[in-house]
C-alpha cells in the first residue's frame, strides 16, 4: 500500500531564513500524526504548506497519490481546525458547520441531516441555533472540529487546537478528538509544542527542531529510546548522572524521574543514597529532589498515605542498569 500522506524534500525559506530544511515523511491512511517541537522549529510552516497557505520553496506534498503542492487552498479538499477557533461570528453553529457543504453545493436537506449528525458526534445536539459568542471555548473548538470534518475532507489538519483552552478542558477535548478521529478513520496531522499532548494522542510523532526531523516514531519509542539529546531532553523530564556518580560508569548517563524508586523493584540492580532537598506534593504524584553527593535528582513517586516524607530525610534510591540512557550529541 502506498503512503496516504507523503512529504518529499520539503523546503521553505523566508528570504535568507530557511525554516524547513528538506523534510521527508510518509504516513498511512487513518493515522494520527503529531508534529512536535519548540516554537520556531518549522512544524506550523509544514502544516501551512500542506494546507496551501504557504508555497513551498521546493519539494512535493502528495495526498492519496495526488500531487497537491501547487493547488490553491480551496482546491485541496482538506479540513482544518485553528488555534483561535476561527468560527464565523456572524453565523450560527449550524450555519458554520454547513458552510463547507454549501460551498460544495450540497442540497439543503442533506446539509441539515449532516449538520445534525455532526452535532451529535461532538456531543452538542440542539446547539445549531446558537451563536459562537454564546458558547465556551471548548464548545467553540468542538464546533470548529465539526465544521472541518463535515465535508469529509481527505486530511484533517489541527493547528494547536487546544492551546487556548484551560488545562482540564484541554485534556478532555484531546481525548474526544482522538475518539472521533478513530471512529471516522480520518488521517490527521496535529501540530503542538506540548510533549504530553503529543504523546497521549498520537499514533506516531514527528519530533522537530530547527527545521529538521530529529526523530519519528510512536510515543513509547520516542520517550524510552530517544534518538538524540534534543529528543531526550525535550520529551519528558530527565535526570543527568555525571560520570563517577554510578559505580563503574565511564561517562555521563541519564534516567527518567519515574524509574528511580525508594523501594527495590524486581529489576533494580543499582542503589544510591541521598538526602531529600525538597519535596512537592502534586496530588497523585509526589516529586522529590534528592541530593546525591551534590547532584540533585528529581524522583516521581505516587502519593502514599502511610508515611509522609520530610525534607532532610536520608533515602536509598533504587534504579536499574537497563533504564540508563546514554545521550549522544
Amino acid at each position: 500500500m502506498p503512503a496516504f500522506l507523503e512529504v518529499q524534500n520539503l523546503v521553505k525559506s523566508f528570504g535568507s531564513n530557511t525554516v524547513v530544511k528538506g523534510v521527508n515523511f510518509a504516513f498511512d491512511k487513518g493515522e494520527f500524526i503529531s508534529l512536535l517541537g519548540p516554537s520556531g522549529c518549522g512544524k506550523t510552516t509544514i502544516l501551512r504548506m500542506i494546507a496551501g497557505f504557504e508555497r513551498p520553496t521546493s519539494g512535493a506534498i502528495r495526498v492519496d497519490g495526488d500531487d497537491i503542492t501547487h493547488l490553491k487552498p480551496n482546491q485541496r479538499k482538506l479540513g482544518m481546525v485553528f488555534q483561535a477557533y476561527a468560527l464565523f461570528p456572524n453565523m450560527t453553529v449550524g450555519e458554520n458547520i454547513a458552510f463547507g457543504l454549501k460551498i460544495a453545493g450540497m442540497p439543503a436537506d442533506q446539509r441539515r441531516a449532516r449538520v445534525d449528525e455532526m452535532l451529535k458526534l461532538i456531543g452538542l445536539p440542539g446547539f445549531e441555533k446558537r451563536y459562537p459568542y454564546e458558547m465556551s471555548g471548548g464548545q467553540q473548538q468542538r464546533v470548529a472540529l465539526a465544521r472541518a470534518i463535515a465535508p469529509k475532507p481527505r486530511l484533517l489538519l489541527l493547528d494547536e487546537p487546544l492551546s487556548a483552552l484551560d488545562a482540564k478542558i484541554r485534556v478532555s477535548l484531546r481525548e474526544e478528538i482522538r475518539a472521533i478521529q478513530r471512529d471516522l478513520g480520518i488521517t490527521t496531522v496535529f501540530v503542538t509544542h506540548d510533549q504530553e499532548e503529543a504523546m497521549s494522542i498520537s499514533d506516531r510523532i514527528v519530533v522537530m527542531n530547527a527545521g529538521n526531523i530529529e526523530q519519528l516514531g510512536a510515543a513509547h519509542d520516542i520517550y524510552n529510546r530517544p534518538a538524540t539529546r534534543f529528543v531526550a531532553t525535550f520529551v519528558g523530564q530527565l535526570n543527568t548522572l555525571p560520570a563517577g556518580l554510578l559505580p563503574g560508569a565511564t561517562g555521563e548517563r541519564a534516567i527518567r524521574p519515574e524509574l528511580i524508586s525508594l523501594a527495590p523493584r524486581p529489576e533494580t540492580d543499582l542503589t544510591l543514597t541521598g538526602t531529600i532537598a525538597d519535596l512537592h506534593f502534586l496530588g497523585s504524584v509526589q516529586r522529590l529532589r534528592v541530593d546525591v553527593g551534590g547532584t540533585l535528582l528529581n524522583i516521581d513517586t505516587f502519593n502514599n498515605q502511610t508515611k509522609p516524607l520530610q525534607r532532610g530525610d536520608t533515602v536509598t534510591l533504587h534504579l536499574a542498569q537497563k533504564d540508563l540512557l546514554t545521550l549522544g550529541a
Binding site: N74, A86, N90
Partner: protein, 263 residues
C-alpha cells in the same frame, strides 16, 4: 476614595456643561422670536423657506453618494492591506490621517487646478462635473473616519484566520468578502457611514468654494442675515446628527454581539 469620586464627577460635569450649556442657550434663544413669550415661530420660518428643503435634499443626496464611494474604496483597501501587506498599514494610517490635517482648502485648490474649465478633464465646467468633484472631496474628507471605523471593525475579527478557514473549506475570494468579511463588519461600516453623513450635512468650506447649493452654505447665509432662524437651524441640525449617532448605537445593539464595532 470619597475625594476621588468627587473629582471624577466634577470632571464629568464640566465636560457635559461644555457641550450642554451652549446647546441649551441656543435652544432657549431659538424660542424667543415672538416677543415676550416662547414660541416655535423661528422653526416655522425655517421650514417654510423653500431653500431649506432644497439645500438639505441636495446635501443628503451628496452624502449618500459619498458613503457608497467611500465604502467601495475603503473596505477592499483595508482588507487587502491587513491581509497581504500588513507592512503598509502605518503608511495607510498616515495617508488616511492627511485629510484631517491638510486644510480642506489645499485639496480644493488642487482639484480646481486639475479639473478646472481649462484643464484636460473640465469637471468644474459643468454642474454634473462639479457635483462629482464635491463628492470626491467629501470622500476624502470622510476618509479618516471611514478608514478608522472599517479598520477597527476588521481588528475585532481575525480576518486572516477567518479567510484561511473559509479558503480551506473551498470558498473563493468573492465568497469570503461577501459572506464572511462584510457581514462581520457591517456595524463598523454603518458607524463610518453615519459619521460621513453627519460631516457632509454640516460642511461649509468646500461646498461654498465650489459654489454648490448645499446645506452648510445655506446655514451660514441664514446665520449672517437673520437673528432667530440660525439658532433654530442649529438645533435642527443638532437633532439630525444626534439622530444619526443614536442610530449607530441602536444598530450596534441589534447586531450579533460578536459583530465588530468601533471602539
Amino acid at each position: 476614595m470619597k475625594s476621588q469620586k468627587f473629582w471624577a464627577w466634577l470632571v464629568f460635569a464640566l465636560g457635559a456643561a461644555y457641550f450642554i450649556i451652549p446647546l441649551a442657550a441656543t435652544f432657549e434663544f431659538s424660542l424667543r422670536m415672538r416677543r415676550g413669550e416662547y414660541s416655535f415661530d423661528a422653526y416655522a420660518s425655517v421650514f417654510s423657506d423653500p431653500q431649506f428643503a432644497a439645500s438639505f435634499t441636495y446635501s443628503v443626496i451628496v452624502g449618500l453618494f459619498t458613503i457608497v464611494v467611500g465604502i467601495l474604496v475603503v473596505v477592499p483597501a483595508v482588507y487587502f492591506v491587513r491581509l497581504r501587506m500588513p507592512w503598509l498599514r502605518p503608511f495607510m494610517e498616515f495617508v488616511t490621517l492627511l485629510p484631517l490635517v491638510i486644510p480642506a482648502l489645499v485639496l480644493v485648490y488642487g482639484y480646481i487646478r486639475l479639473y478646472g474649465s481649462s484643464s484636460l478633464i473640465p469637471f468644474t465646467g459643468s454642474v454634473f462635473g462639479t457635483n462629482i468633484l464635491l463628492t470626491c472631496a467629501y470622500v476624502t474628507l470622510a476618509m479618516p473616519y471611514m478608514y478608522r471605523a472599517v479598520d477597527n471593525g476588521m481588528r475585532t475579527i481575525d480576518i486572516g484566520t477567518l479567510t484561511e478557514a473559509a479558503q480551506i473549506m473551498g470558498a473563493n475570494q468573492l465568497q469570503i468578502i461577501g459572506k464572511i468579511i462584510l457581514p462581520n463588519i457591517l456595524v463598523a461600516i454603518l458607524s463610518g457611514a453615519f459619521l460621513t453623513f453627519a460631516i457632509v450635512i454640516g460642511e461649509f468650506t468646500i461646498a461654498s468654494l465650489l459654489n454648490r447649493p448645499a446645506f452648510g452654505p445655506y446655514l451660514v447665509g441664514i446665520g449672517t442675515n437673520r437673528a432667530y432662524e440660525p439658532a433654530a437651524l442649529a438645533i435642527i441640525s443638532f437633532i439630525i446628527t444626534w439622530g444619526a449617532m443614536g442610530m449607530i448605537n441602536v444598530l450596534g445593539r441589534f447586531a450579533p454581539r460578536t459583530s465588530a464595532r468601533t471602539d
